[in-house]
């Protein structure tokens, strides 16, 4: 399996929702102890729908790309869609399985977004 294919590279180079803005409804910062990656996620919510998800942080290609995929996926959808997302959903968006050693990287953005809603 080769995870570093076009889909990942595209979302790594042009992450959707990259950069933080003022006025978010929810914000959450997460730290990945394994590698020292940090990630801040912001959510704007209108009537139970995610208007926008933005993020910023230091991280590997997998964490940045997967967070971008999540941000793109949850836009304009009900918050239940974000709350229900799992690794398998991210892998489906990526078009590749994530190796066991990198699962925490792939889930970093999703975890932060889900925590933001708690």
């Amino acid at each position: 399996m080769d995870i570093y294919r076009e889909q990942l590279l595209d979302h790594y180079r042009n992450p959707r929702g990259w950069g933080l803005k003022e006025g978010a409804d929810f914000t959450y910062e997460l730290y990945n102890q394994l590698c020292g990656d940090t990630l801040t996620v912001q959510l704007w919510v209108n009537n139970d729908s995610i208007a926008e998800m933005r993020f910023f942080g230091v991280g590997c290609a997998i964490s940045r790309a997967c967070t971008s995929l999540v941000a793109e996926s949850v836009k304009d959808k009900n918050i239940s869609h974000l709350q229900a997302m799992k690794l398998s959903d991210i892998e489906a968006l990526l078009g590749e399985k994530v190796s066991p050693g990198r699962i925490s990287c792939a889930l970093l953005g999703l975890s932060a977004a889900q925590h933001a809603l708690l």
Partner: protein, 408 residues
Amino acid sequence: MTNLGINIDFPIFKHHPSLVFLDNAATTQKPSVVINAEKEFYETTYANIHRATYDIAVQATDLFEGVRSQAADFIGANAPGEIVFTRNASEALNLAAYVIGQSLTAGDELLISVAGHHSNVLPWMRLAQEKKATIKWVEITKEGRLDIDSFKKNLSARTKVVVFEHVSNVLGYVNPVQDLSTMAHAVGALVVVDAAQSSCRMPINVQTLDVDFMAFSGHKMYGPTGSGFLYGKQVYLASAEPLLVGGGTIKKVTRQTIEWEKSPWRFEAGTPDIAGVVGLGACLTYLKKVGMGTMWQHDQELTAYIAEQLACLPFLKLYGPKVLQDRAAIFSFLIEVDGQTLHSHDVAEICNKSGVAIRGGHHCAQLLMQALGVEDVNRASFGAYNTTEDVDVLVAALNQAFDTFKKV
């Protein structure tokens, strides 16, 4: 001698023929003599030590104490009593800090290398907090070595202990231990050195180096996990209280009194990793056979080849000295592509696809990462079984990492 030809001694390379293991600073693979020694011990001579009088208990005790003598001999200690078995270098350094701490008072100073592994930083930070002592940090030069001027500047009559690594686990430099010890002793300070990255690749003589305490990691020098030891000069161990207390640490105990056992046994509470120590003994025998001088020559020839090959990669930013004098085969680096630095875990993942095992992260040296101004680096650390062919496979993998991320 860039290929020692000892791969055949290590069974893991039969199981994984295309494995290029370049994470030796994290841990080393084991020769079959070490694996077999532990197995044979369990099968033929296993019993607890220092306790019973039946035959296999006496034999097990003799085997265990025999390794203590071997270890003393291996490092040029004055007596086996200067060797305290621990489960790793981390425990050895915690013990050294605990022993030294018994004579520290408020206002005393500790001079510590900022490049130290967390195991040679945290015990001292905690000690300083407990005793209200002051820490002075020895910095890193731009070249990527310990800053000897910074060492001299921060050394004073108030310095009670200096703490540093023999070889840096990230930058690969070899410190001038003897010179630093001389300077430290001149002001009455004790010298504690982490030998985790040196005892695996060069001969060590604690008399020549003139250290007071030195920590050794068994698993990083081709020995079993759970084995390691602290060298401590008898004069400092003789009257110190142990860190861990329990079975084997006392001659006599009543409800009111404790009469400690003699050193070094006083410092070895409970049943040790007996089989691990037996395996360590087989390891020391093996290393003596290969010869630590030969190991160092191999390390140095490999270092020269690695430096030459990595210098040909324009996208590589190397950390640590480029001058090869006093520099071991541990290379840390980052890769830049289109103005962006690749995260070390992405590089490690791509290397893994070619069977190359390198490390990414902070390498238990966060203070050093902060001093270097980075979050993480990749590290390729070479061992006795590595060859120039391994270097070539690494270089190909690094090129692959660059190509993967390069925009076409």
